[in-house]
């Protein structure tokens, strides 16, 4: 006799799964689901459970499918996973696909106005009367669609055991204490949870339990962190042009500057932000400000960075300090503007014409986005050169559980900047006339004066054309070569003062892994999986270019090192190969780009497959 669907589902005896699963929310872009998803993420975090949230969204304002994934993991592994344990389906257009991603025994929660048949019988399906519940609530019709997503928050809270108090706290944080918004959303959540309690019989095995896994952590995104880092690093000028996924970095500056950067005595602003007419102008403004003695920065992504390349070359050659945040997205061209990548490493390292190179920093967590936010400003002024922070969309636009921001442990470092009395002292110390491009210390870094310095010897004319040590125009062959070689010395000076790599080892590890940036959680989880499969690994997370000697030593110490990254060509491996050609045969490429963050499983499978060769 054929079983009915309900009977089949009833016959599955699911294993109990606590604090270790993945939920995907499938909604329509612009329907206001971000609030609902964010509230759930924060409520789980407030219960002390390690969580991560990733938004997979289209380049569109309203109408196209969008997904949000929350991973709950008691062991703190928070990389993307490819299959879903729970799917919340609110978008009829993608319903059938969604069902396909569920693991056997998984949960499907769906809006009951979706009439597409549920084709799988090895899952638990719970329809939700979304329209009915929202109709019964006292909600203005124009807000009904937005608040509809709160229904799944309430139903999930009941099914998984999410504390409603924590949800209320999460709403409070999300709406920054605005009672009206908090209350109207909470009413729907509470009513939906009540409806679920009265009408749904829980058969699946998934649940959450409070734990103590988030102590010392905060929940925020990399763009907010980068902006706050810059504010604590004393940024004084920023110019920018809107571009996904970098815009929210500059918007965060605007949000936090008024409270954080008013002069204590005068109440005046100590940082100015200008929205430029394009990236050509944004970088021009930042070069001007950096040249005139302001701690100066901009933020952009691939296409914007391409537009900035000429001014970056000028800044390199005229030795102007500034910081650029490159929040990477998928290229070439417009590419996939709302998807993540590490595909600008090679192009950014040499971004302008002529012999150039640039200092790159690679934050490997949202906390490091904060840390590199202030460090980059110090390094730029110390080295008198552009410093480019290589973040990506995954960091920039997703909320991460990350270590609390730590107060800078070194004072603001303005580098070799000379005001009137400093200039006299320098001339006395070195017993010679100061010149803008004289390498008095032998470290490739000259001393600089800035506009407004009234010392009679301070002024000079900065030019992108050939210039000598006194900043005078010169086309002399030996002057040109001397100047360019001196700039090379500066990059040797840079190596030891840039952020060191982070190296994690295992006893008896036989192979090495190198990675940078947002792939860190996937790599760490893959190492655990590989160890279980019998392959122990050491891991070196690169945090800056030009390369630190410790990275070179790491590669030399391993017969094989896999370089894991999100791009087609293995760009980090390309750069390492250029720097240490004699070791390049020990490097193996593990790279992949499809717009999604790497999963631990993919990293593990790729390395195992190459090991078997």
């Amino acid at each position: 006799m054929e079983q009915t669907l309900t009977e089949r589902i009833a016959s599955i005896h699911p294993a109990k799964v606590v604090n270790d699963f993945c939920i995907t929310f499938s909604t329509v872009n612009g329907s206001g689901s971000a609030t609902a998803n964010n509230v759930l993420l924060r409520a789980l975090f407030k219960m002390g459970i390690p969580v991560s949230g990733k938004n997979i969204f289209p380049s569109n304002i309203q109408g196209l499918p969008t997904w949000y994934t929350i991973r709950v993991n008691k062991d703190g592994f928070l990389a993307r996973v490819e299959r879903d344990d729970i799917v919340v389906a609110m978008n009829p257009a993608t319903f059938t696909n969604e069902i396909g991603y569920l693991v056997p025994g998984g949960v499907l929660l769906y809006s009951d106005d979706i009439k597409t048949p549920v084709t799988r019988q090895d899952i638990f399906a719970y329809p939700m009367p979304v329209k009915k519940i929202t109709r019964e609530m006292d909600v203005p019709p124009n807000l009904r669609d937005y608040i509809a997503n709160m229904v799944y928050v309430g139903v999930l809270a009941h099914l998984l055991g999410i504390d409603l108090d924590k949800i209320h706290q999460a709403l409070d944080a999300h709406f920054k204490g605005k009672q009206k918004a908090i209350n109207s959303n909470y009413t729907v959540i509470e009513a939906s949870a009540k409806w679920a309690a009265a009408n749904l019989v829980k058969r699946d095995g998934y649940s959450v339990e409070p734990m103590n896994g988030t102590e010392g952590y905060i929940l925020t995104d990399g763009n907010t962190a980068g902006a706050l880092g810059a504010i604590f690093g004393g940024v004084q000028f920023s110019a920018w042009y809107p571009i996904t996924p970098a815009s929210s970095l500059s918007e965060s500056l605007n949000e936090y500057l008024p409270a954080l950067r008013k002069d204590a005595e005068t109440g005046k602003a100590t940082c100015a932000v200008v929205q430029a007419e394009d990236e050509l102008a944004a970088i021009g403004m930042v070069v001007g400000a950096g040249w005139a003695g302001l701690r100066s920065m901009t933020s952009t992504s691939g296409p914007g960075l391409s537009l900035m390349s000429e001014y970056l070359g000028l800044a390199y050659y005229t030795e102007v300090p500034l910081v650029v945040w490159n929040v990477q997205r998928v290229g070439p061209s417009t590419g996939l503007p709302t998807r993540t990548a590490q595909c600008d490493i090679t192009s950014t390292y040499f971004i302008s014409h002529g012999d150039t190179e640039f200092v790159l920093l690679f934050p490997g967590s949202v906390s490091e986005c904060f840390e590199f936010g202030w460090k980059a400003l110090d390094l730029a002024e110390v080295l008198q050169t552009p410093v480019i922070v290589m973040s990506d969309l995954d960091f920039g636009m997703n909320e991460w559980m990350t270590k609390k921001f730590e107060y800078p442990d070194t004072p603001v470092n303005r580098g070799k900047i000379l005001w009137e009395e400093d200039l006299d002292k320098i001339q006395e110390r070195f017993k010679e006339e100061w010149g803008r491009y004289k390498d008095l210390d032998g470290d490739g870094i000259p001393y600089r004066t800035v506009a407004g310095n009234h010392h009679p010897r301070a002024a000079y004319l900065t030019r992108g054309t050939g210039h000598d040590e006194m900043a005078r125009y010169s086309e002399e062959p030996d002057v040109w070569e001397r100047g360019l070689k001196r700039l090379g010395v500066k990059f040797q000076t840079a190596r030891p003062i840039l952020p060191k790599p982070v190296i994690h080892t295992m006893v008896d590890a036989s192979v090495g892994i190198i990675a940078c940036g947002s792939t860190d959680p996937a790599v760490e989880e893959a190492r655990m999986m590989l160890a279980k499969a019998g392959l122990k690994t050491d891991y070196c997370r690169v945090r800056s270019l030009p390369l630190d000697q410790e990275v070179v030593d790491f590669i030399a110490a391993h017969e094989r090192t896999y370089v894991v990254e999100i791009n087609r060509d293995g760009q980090l491996k390309q750069i390492i190969t250029l720097e240490i050609p004699h070791l390049c045969t020990q490097l193996h490429q593990v790279s992949h780009i499809d717009g999604m963050p790497l999963s631990a499983r993919w990293v593990k499978d790729q390395i195992l497959a190459q090991e078997e060769k």
């Binding site: 950067r261 100590t270 200008v274 050509l280 403004m285 000429e310 407004g452 004319l461 900065t462």
Partner: protein, 347 residues
């Protein structure tokens, strides 16, 4: 004896400086180039205004004109930036110390072609800045190609005939709500100087489009950008004098009833002596009309075309401290540990 000593002593201005304190390096431009004459008028204007050279910051883009900042005010900081992108460079730099005066030298290629966007955006922001376009209607440094201000049907030796209509820089400035728009002719040094002085006193963007003939590639008698044509076709809107705040205007200088005064932000005045035309430079529509008429009638209209000294500047939109931003001490730039604790709490 005493008289003899005084005769050889260079005369000092109120800043205690001699004219040579305003000099730059020797020009490397062609002899007779209009740009050199403009550089000399900048020197004279700054000297007569008693501006201390290190209170000026000079900027330029790329081209013959953009070499000019080397030829005046050696004691001022300067930055020779990228082609067409001097405005953004200057804007960022001027935020460092708003007490400094900014002057930018650009050309018609630099401003009206690659730089048209940055030019107009700088204008719309009303950054306090003297923006001089040395307009010769030709690309000199790349040896004589048409520029965006070259007149239609112009014939150049190796280029043939220009098929496109020119861009009128003053018109573009006006359309973008410029608060000071003037046109002059390098062959009329007195007017150039008076306009530069007025521009320095204007609190806002001051656009000076100066027709500056290129003696090497573009000085044909029939061309708008030549000395001969300019001298023959120049129509001055007024006789223009700049009066510093402390100078007293005497009735003998200006015949009553024939003058119009415009007061600038610092208390100085521009006194405009009416010529045959009764022109009001504070009337934006009249400014548009005169530019339109000039185009139709083949006039080179010079003088102060438009001024509005009352508009807020870019800096008025920012609540900046009196201490220049670039002199604020490092310890004042970092918020407290307590503030970071509060932020961590909020996440």
């Amino acid at each position: 004896m005493v008289d003899q000593v005084q005769a050889v002593k260079p005369s000092l201005n109120l800043a205690g400086l001699s004219r040579s304190d305003y000099r730059g390096s020797p020009s490397t431009l062609c002899q007779g180039c209009g740009h050199n004459s403009i550089a000399n008028q900048i020197i004279s204007a700054c000297y007569e205004l008693n501006i201390i050279p290190d209170n000026v910051v000079k900027f330029s883009g790329i081209g013959c004109s953009s070499k000019s900042p080397t030829y005046f005010l050696n004691r001022a900081f300067g930055f020779n930036g990228l082609h067409g992108r001097m405005p953004s460079l200057a804007l960022g730099a001027m935020f460092a110390d708003t007490s400094l005066k900014g002057i930018g030298i650009s050309g018609d290629g630099d401003t009206a072609s690659i730089g048209l966007g940055q030019f107009k955006h700088m204008v719309r922001r009303n950054l306090p800045f003297v923006y001089i376009i040395e307009n010769n209607g030709v690309y000199g440094l790349t040896k004589g190609q048409f520029s965006a201000t070259s007149e239609k049907d112009l014939h150049l030796k190796r280029q043939g005939v220009n098929p496109y209509s020119p861009i009128d820089i003053c018109m573009e400035a006006l359309a973008s709500n410029a608060t000071f728009v003037a046109r002059s002719f390098a062959g009329d040094p007195k007017q150039v100087k008076e306009l530069i002085k007025a521009a320095f006193s204007h609190d806002g963007i001051a656009i000076l489009d100066i027709i500056s003939p290129c003696v090497t590639f573009h000085n044909q008698e029939n061309s708008l950008h030549s000395y001969v044509w300019g001298k023959e076709h120049e129509i001055q809107l007024h006789e223009l004098s700049y009066v510093a705040p402390r100078d007293e205007i005497t009735v003998e200088d200006f015949e009553e009833g024939t003058t119009r005064e415009v007061y600038l932000h610092d208390g100085s005045q521009i006194v405009l002596k009416k010529l045959e035309k009764d022109y009001d430079p504070t009337d934006r529509w009249q400014a548009f009309r005169i530019l339109e008429a000039a185009q139709k009638n083949n006039w080179l209209v010079t003088g102060l075309i438009y001024v509005d000294p009352t508009q807020p500047t870019m800096f008025d939109a920012y609540d900046l401290p009196e201490t220049p931003l670039n002199r604020i001490s490092a310890d004042k730039l970092r918020p407290s540990r307590g503030m970071l604790d509060q932020i961590n709490e909020s996440f």
